[in-house]
Symmetry: C2
Subunit: 191 residues, 2 copies
């Protein structure tokens, strides 16, 4: 049983030990190695993932075959192909561990059953999606508002640990830069 | 009382007439003229808006003073500055009617009270945010995946009514084009 997830849930809902055990029975805990795939494009999108420890990323393959990272999830963030998960379709993304990670996963059927049995979990997931949507809303604004250099500066100032933890080539991909361009910005800021 | 909102709610939850009246008491119905502001940047972000009829948009002012549209809401979509609404802070966006619209609004306190009194509304708002987040997730992918011309084509193919309904200068702003560039693409596609 996971103490980390219980503490995280308690930020949003009141839950006693017995109820938590029943809630947790709907989840599986999995260990993933660095660069191990949790989900692949074209695969039936059956799971919603929660990062307990580590970091995972979502990417798709461009026409050129290059991996384009669109999202990272650090500790206590959820990740899946939300559209495909709801509709129970094939995933249009890959999800892969950036570092060795401990991940909880819940299947679509289990999540439905969990929400039916414990309606207070609707409140929890409402808050999860509300915050995820708020973050996406801000991110879309930044894409209009900032130049590429400003985008990097924004990330560096607001999420310094994130910048240090993510390998530079993935960070460059996420920011829409070439790795060379990211080095250039970094050198310019240092000098 | 609004029949439109009841029908919309029934897509997600079972609700009888008496309960609906109690739910609806938490909302206000407002009529807005074309170009009338529902929310202004710097103003306390107190409302979540639901479009019954019409179309509203969200924008911010760039350093140059130009309005940058980041989002549209047509019938049955919700809109606010999600981040500021949750935290009860000043809005960082304007929300304005694109055409004459009928809008429901619920204040932050009323939404909290509604969710407390009718926990089944947690399920409704979970679904609202889940779908909004899924749409944002796909939109962020498109921004990486498509050229500007492809982005326009994608919108024109998937949302033809949207393209016809939104004034061309707003559509250009939303797509990150100049109006001239949008005309150029349109002419090129016609020829």
């Amino acid at each position: 049983m996971s103490v980390i997830f219980k503490k995280h849930l308690e930020k949003f809902v009141s839950i006693d030990g017995v109820t938590y055990q029943e809630v947790f029975a709907f989840f599986e805990i999995i260990l993933v190695k660095k660069k191990e795939n949790l989900m692949e494009e074209g695969e039936f999108c059956n799971f919603h993932f929660f990062v307990e420890q580590g970091c995972i990323r979502k990417f798709f393959l461009k026409d050129t075959g290059v991996e384009q990272t669109t999202e990272f999830a650090l500790e206590h963030w959820w990740m899946t192909d939300t559209f495909a998960f709801e509709r129970q379709e094939q995933s249009t993304f890959y999800i892969q561990a950036v570092e060795r990670s401990v991940v909880l996963r819940i299947s679509h059927d289990n999540r439905e059953a969990l929400l039916k049995k414990f309606p207070f979990m609707e409140h929890y997931f409402r808050m999860v999606y509300q915050r995820a949507y708020a973050a996406a809303e801000r991110r879309i604004r930044f894409l209009y508002e900032f130049s590429r250099e400003e985008l990097y500066l924004h990330f560096a100032n607001n999420y310094p640990q994130f910048i240090q933890r993510i390998p530079q080539y993935l960070l460059a991909s996420f920011l829409g830069f070439t790795p060379e361009y990211l080095s250039e910005i970094r050198n310019k800021l240092r000098s």
